[in-house]
């Protein structure tokens, strides 16, 4: 195992990933404790079992059950419609505070409470269990992959920072050495993403048990989750391989460039229609945007629709192919440089 040093670096990076995830998970636990209370189902059954409650049940044509709870002694009136994966509640009950208006929307539950003249009117719409798109869950692990990719980026430059005599006197060719180091890092990046997904699922389980679904875009989403961070890692590695003092400066410059280039490109899109100089600059920055993996990793939520919208406007499948091509291209560029570096 001539990639032992990279294995050690990968272990250290995974340790950082686990620390970040532990902090996020603990924050989730704190939130869960803060919002601790009865579930909507527990609330509904509690109203029905209170002393003096008069309960009327009616089967509705769609199979759901309408329950009307009237409790004159408690001055409570509730209408509950309960069906598979759905619960609507409309409750009127006494309230000590004179005026209040709360609107809470959490995941698949919306709750609206209005208090007027000592009576609270609460409307709850609960749309069943959380339905989780596995493909999008993978895509949401990309930020963790980018963080660990940034930490591990430039493994060859790290060797070039005073360790070539150790790296190159092992019984292995330079090409194999470089590919093994990159392979270790790529695996570590993906493992960190899997850890992020596991922690995200654990966090969700604290609130509700999700049901999983996958669209026909699952495979592209999976590939995007894998190759998005790797393309970024490969870009920084390619840019830094010949740098003798480690990849730090290159990583900083790469982040700046990755953010600035798409921003300038977007800013020049309008003026480019009117001005030939602006059009020239726009073409340069827009072309550079195609080489920037970060430009392909935008996720947008519109209403309840979450989807991948790249800065360059490519669709998901095209994005995946581009990310794969960038990963392979940047890795090849890294290895080619590595062959020519001198101690």
């Amino acid at each position: 195992m001539y990639y032992f040093v990279e294995y050690m670096r990968a272990k250290a990076a995974l340790r950082i990933a686990l620390i970040i995830l532990a902090v996020v998970f603990l924050a989730g636990v704190v939130v869960r404790i803060a919002v601790h209370g009865p579930t909507v189902y527990q609330w509904s059954s509690g109203l029905q079992s209170e002393p003096g409650a008069h309960v009327t049940r009616t089967q509705l044509p769609d199979g759901s059950v309408r329950v009307v709870v009237d409790n004159p002694s408690q001055r409570t009136h509730a209408v509950v419609i309960q069906g598979p994966g759905r619960l609507d509640m409309d409750i009127t009950e006494p309230e000590k505070k004179s005026t209040r208006n709360d609107v809470v929307s959490m995941g698949n539950m919306d709750m609206n409470t209005r208090v007027h003249n000592g009576m609270a009117h609460t409307v709850i719409r609960y749309h069943g269990g959380l339905i989780l798109d596995v493909g999008l869950l993978l895509v949401f692990s990309i930020p963790m992959g980018i963080i660990i990719g940034t930490i591990l980026a430039g493994p060859l430059s790290k060797e070039n920072d005073g360790h070539l005599e150790l790296a190159w006197t092992k019984p292995v060719s330079r090409e194999k050495y470089a590919l093994a180091a990159i392979g270790v890092d790529a695996s570590t990046i993906f493992i960190s993403q899997l850890c992020a997904i596991a922690v995200a699922l654990l966090g969700m389980l604290m609130f509700s048990v999700p049901s999983f679904t996958a669209t026909n875009m699952f495979l592209p989403e999976l590939l995007m989750a894998i190759f998005g961070p790797i393309a970024w890692y490969a870009l920084v590695t390619a840019a830094s391989t010949s740098v003798k003092r480690g990849p730090g400066v290159v990583i900083g410059a790469a982040w700046l460039t990755a953010i600035i280039v798409p921003a300038v490109s977007a800013a020049l899109a309008g003026p480019a229609q009117l001005n030939s100089v602006a059009r020239g600059f726009y073409l340069i920055f827009h072309t550079l945007t195609y080489l920037d993996p970060i430009a392909y990793l935008s996720i947008k939520t519109v209403g309840h629709e979450t989807s991948v919208r790249t800065v360059v406007g490519t669709d998901l499948v095209a994005t995946v192919w581009i990310l794969i091509a960038l990963s392979v291209g940047y890795i090849a560029l890294s290895v080619l440089q590595w062959r020519r570096v001198e101690a």
């Binding site: 195992m1 001539y2 032992f4 040093v5 050690m8 005073g162 360790h163 070539l164 005599e165 150790l166 190159w168 006197t169 092992k170 019984p171 292995v172 060719s173 194999k176 020519r340 001198e342 101690a343």
Partner: protein, 299 residues
């Protein structure tokens, strides 16, 4: 395993660091590569091991080109520390174990003990000498047939320097091929059987140490004052070097040592002696060093 370097040249831009160097290192020998700072010793090593690309020339190991497999039997101790600051000594040994099939854990432990190294210590907390010692341990632990040692005693205390020298001599006795450079010429003299002297990238002298010493003598005379007239002695073909430091005159001669001793006595020397050449004399003769004080003439 023997090493052959043929017409090796390495340019950095317009600067020629190594200039047409040809050296043959026989199997089972200790070869000392000497030269002042910047003479091209380290660059020669780097070109030998493929760490730098030679401009021209050829290096072969047992008649074959260097391949990754060659490193299964080759260890290199570089001039400066190339260890990973964030790793411990034990991590470095584990790295060797993982990469080299001939790694000998027992040998590594013995050597760590010999140099009083703590495997749990990170390199960043180690002194220069400890780093050199760890590099030496890593090299010897993989049981190599060829060892390329660039200043392997740099920063070590005299006791550990002696230990390294003993390791080199023992390895040589086992038939290993060792090439080393050191500024400690006395150490090279103790260990090496062949040497080459590099000066400004060129080999200015090479051969078996015994052959280089044979025949040549130093005739040393001490005069009452430093006003000594040498009467054109340097024009004598038997004298290769004339050196004058204050009241002391040293003549390096190919033959006729007794005659020159008598001549110095006749010139008024208070004491005259004839001594064998040591490696330092050979080195200084070869590089015509400016480090020696008050050289009057050079033959």
């Amino acid at each position: 395993m023997s090493i052959s370097i043929e017409h090796l040249t390495k340019n950095y831009g317009t600067f020629r660091a190594v200039d047409d160097v040809s050296i043959d290192i026989p199997s089972g020998s200790v070869f000392g590569l000497l030269g002042p700072n910047g003479a091209g010793k380290t660059t020669t090593f780097k070109c030998m091991l493929g760490l730098a690309l030679p401009t021209s020339g050829n290096v072969t190991f047992d008649g074959k080109q260097l391949t990754p497999q060659t490193f299964q039997r080759l260890a290199y101790v570089p001039e400066r520390s190339v260890l990973y600051e964030w790793m411990t000594g034990a991590d470095h040994l584990e790295m060797q174990k993982q990469a080299f099939p001939r790694y000998n854990a027992a040998r590594a432990n013995d050597l760590m003990h010999l140099f009083s190294l703590d495997g749990r210590k990170r390199v960043r907390a180690m002194s220069k000498g400890m780093r050199t010692a760890l590099a030496v341990v890593m090299a010897f632990a993989i049981d190599p047939d060829i060892m390329v040692l660039d200043e392997p005693t740099s920063g070590l205390d005299p006791v550990n320097q002696r230990s390294v020298l003993k390791l080199i001599i023992d390895a040589s006795a086992q038939g290993k091929c060792i090439i080393l450079s050191s500024h400690q010429i006395g150490q090279v003299e103790r260990a090496a059987d062949h040497i080459a002297v590099l000066e400004r990238g060129k080999v200015v002298l090479s051969g078996a140490v015994d052959d280089l010493k044979a025949g040549s003598k130093i005739v040393e005379g001490i005069f009452p004052s430093d006003a000594v007239a040498l009467n054109g002695m340097s024009s004598d073909q038997r004298i290769t070097r004339v050196e004058k430091t204050g009241r002391i005159v040293r003549l390096t001669v190919n033959s006729g040592g007794d005659a020159f001793a008598a001549q110095l006595s006749a010139m008024g020397a208070q004491s005259v002696r004839i001594v064998d050449l040591n490696l330092e004399d050979i080195f200084l003769n070869a590089v015509d060093s400016s480090q020696t004080a008050d050289i009057v003439e050079s033959a």
